[in-house]
């Protein structure tokens, strides 16, 4: 389990994260959402140990990530938004790097690459941005670790690749792994991310499961306008309205509408989901 307690981080005078506390449990794919510059990438780099918290602490399975101990490094993978184009073939890259992750499976890497329609024998420095991203995603999934931190993994992927990514993520990650995905493209991952973490400047507005969200908010796709709606968005076929769920009736979450509702009524939603 990952515990974050009173985490604080600044870039000079620009305070990005302040008093952030949360728990990340195994067996979930967390969606880390937020506007530009709220600290999503910063939080991911703090979780994986690329940065050191300036206040508070992070505990990953009893270890401090910034210590960068081999045991923890071998049980986690950080997939950066921008990945390096190695001057080697995808296969050679995987063979050379895979030896450091005890659960790495070269055959699985090859299979995922085939599913992504990337030639394993293609040089990485000759790949398109999408192919390069898919190669790194395939490598990450072939490492079979317990903690994944993925920063905008669908950036640069075309529409079929996004579907392939969703399929691969659910198929090739261990059942007990915790996956944190930072993304702007909520629609790309709408059906797989659960719980949802929404970051605001220096604050966590929501850290809740889809079940908890739909238990407290109702997503109405009808045409009848509800005056109590916290958010209304006109769509070609009608509208999406989000209002407090007072009846306990189930509804299907719309991630974008939820995100906009949260940002429109920050304090109300924060109070609604604070445990």
């Amino acid at each position: 389990m990952i515990k974050v307690q009173n985490l604080g981080f600044s870039y000079g005078n620009n305070e990005v994260l302040k008093h952030i506390s949360m728990e990340i449990r195994e067996g979930n794919i967390y969606g880390l959402l937020g506007e530009n510059g709220v600290g999503k990438t910063t939080l991911l780099t703090l979780l994986c140990g690329l940065k050191k918290p300036q206040s508070g602490f992070i505990d990953v399975d009893g270890e401090t990530p910034f210590d960068r101990k081999p045991a923890l490094l071998a049980d986690q993978f950080y997939l950066a938004d921008e990945v390096k184009a190695e001057s080697a073939t995808a296969m050679a890259f995987a063979k050379a790097n895979g030896v450091f992750w005890p659960n790495f499976d070269l055959e699985r890497f090859r299979t995922i690459l085939e599913e992504f329609e990337v030639n394993p024998l293609q040089r990485m420095d000759a790949m398109s941005a999408g192919q390069l991203k898919k190669t790194h995603i395939a490598f990450a999934l072939a490492c079979h670790v317990r903690h994944y931190y993925m920063d905008e993994p669908t950036n640069g992927l075309d529409i079929p690749s996004k579907a392939q990514f969703r399929k691969a993520l659910t198929k090739y990650t261990p059942e007990d792994s915790s996956i944190v995905i930072s993304t702007h493209q909520v629609r790309d991952l709408e059906n797989i991310i659960d719980p949802i973490i929404i970051l605001d400047r220096r604050d966590v507005l929501v850290n809740a499961t889809v079940e908890e969200i739909t238990g407290k908010l109702y997503f109405d796709y009808g045409n009848i306008i509800h005056p109590e709606a916290l958010y209304i968005e006109q769509t070609p076929g009608g509208s999406i309205q989000v209002y407090p769920n007072t009846t306990g009736e189930e509804s299907r979450i719309n991630m974008e509408a939820f995100f906009n509702t949260v940002y429109k009524h920050k304090e109300l939603i924060k109070g609604m989901f604070s445990k």
Binding site: L73, S87, F100
Partner: protein, 270 residues
């Protein structure tokens, strides 16, 4: 899993690191190692153009270019592991499951032992090939070590009663100060994000100016006379002592630089 140092993991990491260093820097190693060949070609071309004779560079010129190539290689060290300060490559390096100690040890072994040996081997092998194929080049640097030694001794004797240094001590001092230089530029490359070589040279000049002034204050006036008298009384003994101390200081500085490299790897953030 051992968190600080495992020889097995170090072995795996070392081989990986070696491959990466070779993959990313082999062109530079060939250029520095092949600088003797470049000198040979330029020398022969110039002699053909200006004197219409085929003349190969003399052993002293080839030894001098070897020294320059060592200096060039030292400067290049600021780039060899400089990728650590880049976000993409640096993050990948830091997230690789090996301990800081293993990454540091591999970096030091490659930088202080492997690369200098490979560079020297390439340089000397090519120098040997030149002298084998072109008899006007005279003896190779390895075969001509005696010639270099006697030339060096003549130069020292010509200095009279001043600083006396044996060829053996000279070589030891060169090796120790070269290690210090390599570590200095290696650390510079890990600290500066941009202008790695220029930044390292700039700091080196600044340190030189500061210590030059401090040293100047110590050895001027009565202090200078004191040292001159001491040197005149026992040139060999005092020279040896100065050399020993300078080597010890160089060794301590190298240890300090290596410690700096270790902590830079340990604390670098992206």
């Amino acid at each position: 899993m051992n968190s600080s140092f495992s020889f097995r993991r170090f072995g795996t990491y070392f081989l990986y690191d070696l491959r990466e260093v070779w993959k990313n820097n082999s062109k530079a190693f060939y250029i520095f190692g092949g600088s003797g060949v470049m000198l040979y070609v330029v020398w022969v071309l110039f002699s053909l153009v200006f004197t219409q004779t085929w003349t190969a560079p003399v052993i002293w010129a080839r030894a001098g270019v070897f020294g320059l190539a060592v200096c060039g290689l030292s400067l290049y060290y600021a780039r060899m592991y400089g990728f650590l300060t880049e976000r993409k490559a640096g993050s990948q390096y830091l997230m690789l499951p090996a301990s800081t100690g293993e990454k540091f040890a591999s970096m030091i072994v490659i930088s202080i032992i492997v690369v200098p040996i490979v560079f020297t081997a390439i340089y000397l092998a090519l120098d040997g090939a030149i002298t084998l194929l072109d008899k006007t080049a005279g003896s190779s640097l390895i075969a001509g070590i005696g010639e270099i030694k006697s030339g060096f001794n003549k130069m020292v004797e010509a200095e009279g009663d001043g600083f006396v240094i044996s060829f053996g001590w000279f070589i030891i001092s060169i090796v120790i100060s070269s290690i210090e230089n390599l570590l200095y530029f290696l650390l510079g490359g890990l600290i500066f994000k941009k202008w790695k070589i220029a930044g390292s040279i700039g700091v080196s000049l600044l340190i030189g100016i500061i210590f030059g002034n401090i040293f100047g204050l110590i050895v001027t006036g009565d202090g200078f006379e004191y040292w001159t008298k001491l040197l005149e009384a026992d040139p060999e003994g005092i020279s040896r002592q100065i050399l020993i101390w300078s080597n010890v200081i160089c060794g301590l500085i190298s240890a300090g630089l290596a410690t700096g490299i270790y902590f830079r790897i340990k604390t670098i953030k992206h």
